[in-house]
C-alpha cells in the first residue's frame, strides 16, 4: 500500500540537493476570500539557488541555453556569471502563491517580467532569491471569488529583478 501521507505539511523530506528553502513558510490553513483584503501580504519565500539547481532545472525543462550553466559563454555575453532561468524564477513566484492559496488549481493567471538578471549563490558570494507578494485587488467575476497578488522577486540588495502578478480563485 502507498504510504500514509498527510496531503499538506509533509515538509521533512530532503529535496535531493535542489534549491534549499531557507526559513520556509510553515503550512497554514488556506486563506478565506472574505478575510483577504487589499494590502494582505503573503508569506515570503526565500530560495538559495546554486549552479547545481540551474543544471537540474535545465534538464527538467529541456532548455540547454548556455547562459545558464556555461560560465565562459555567460561572460562572453557580458554577464559576470551564469544567470538564473526566467522560468526558474517564475516557478518560485508560483510556489509562493500556491503555498499561500493552498492548491495549484486555485491559480488562474501568473505573469512575470524578467527585468534584471539573478546570479547563483557561490561559496565566495552567497546569494538568495526572495519572493514577496501583496494583495492588490479582491473581486468576484464569473462566479469565482478572485484575488490579485502583486509579486516581487528580489535579490539580496533588494532590487526587484522579477516583478509579477497572479490571480487566484479562493473558495
Amino acid at each position: 500500500m502507498a504510504r500514509r501521507s498527510r496531503a499538506r505539511g509533509d515538509k521533512g523530506k530532503a529535496d535531493g540537493g535542489a534549491a534549499l528553502a531557507v526559513a520556509e513558510p510553515q503550512p497554514a490553513p488556506a486563506p478565506r476570500w472574505d478575510e483577504v483584503a487589499v494590502g494582505t501580504a503573503i508569506p515570503e519565500l526565500r530560495k538559495v539557488v546554486t549552479t547545481r539547481t540551474l543544471v537540474q532545472f535545465a534538464g527538467a525543462v529541456g532548455d540547454f541555453f548556455e547562459l545558464h550553466y556555461d560560465q565562459p559563454a555567460a561572460q562572453k555575453a557580458g554577464l559576470p556569471d551564469v544567470i538564473l532561468q526566467g522560468y526558474l524564477k517564475k516557478a518560485y513566484l508560483a510556489e509562493a502563491v500556491v503555498r499561500w492559496a493552498g492548491s495549484p488549481q486555485k491559480l488562474r493567471r501568473l505573469s512575470a517580467s524578467y527585468r534584471g538578471v539573478d546570479l547563483p549563490s557561490r561559496d565566495s558570494a552567497p546569494r538568495s532569491f526572495t519572493v514577496r507578494g501583496t494583495v492588490t485587488r479582491v473581486w468576484e467575476e464569473g462566479g469565482e471569488k478572485l484575488v490579485e497578488i502583486s509579486l516581487e522577486g528580489v535579490d539580496d540588495s533588494g532590487a526587484v529583478t522579477t516583478p509579477g502578478r497572479a490571480v487566484v480563485a479562493l473558495g
Partner: protein
Amino acid sequence: MTAEPQSVVTDADRALVGVDTEPGYHLVEAGAVRRFCEAVGLDDPIHVDPAAAHAAGYPERPVPAAFWPAIQVTGSELRRPDLGGFGTRSMNAGTEFEYLRPAYVGQTLACTARIADIRERDGRAGHMVITVLEYTWRDEAGHVVTRAKLTGVRL
C-alpha cells in the same frame, strides 16, 4: 524627439503571424514531474505521491503550476521572423500564463504555438522589435488547459 521611425519587419515576417504549428503530444510523466519538483525544491507530495494527492481531494497528482516549460515542444517548427538580420541582442522580457482547466499526471496534452504579434518601438535603447509567442496546451478532448504568452525583445 526620437530617431525617425524605420520598420525592419518585412511582409514575410508579418505572414508568419497567426499560423499555428502542428501539435506536439506530451504524456505528462510522473518521472518528469518528480524531476521538476526536485529541481525547483517543490516538496508538496501531491505532485509525486498518488496517495497524498487522493488524500488532498485530487483525482490524480496535479501538475505543478510552473511545469509547462517542460512540455513546451510543438509538433513542427515555429518559424520565427528574421527581421532582415536586425539586432544584436534578444531578450526574454516576460511570460504570462492562463490556467483554464486542471491537468494531471498521466494525461496526454497537445502543445501548439504561434506568433501572436510582432510590433516595433523606439525606446531609450533604440529601435526594438517585440514578438509575442502564444503557446496553447489542449487535453484529449480538445479543451484548452493552459495558455502562455511569451514576449521577446530584439534590439
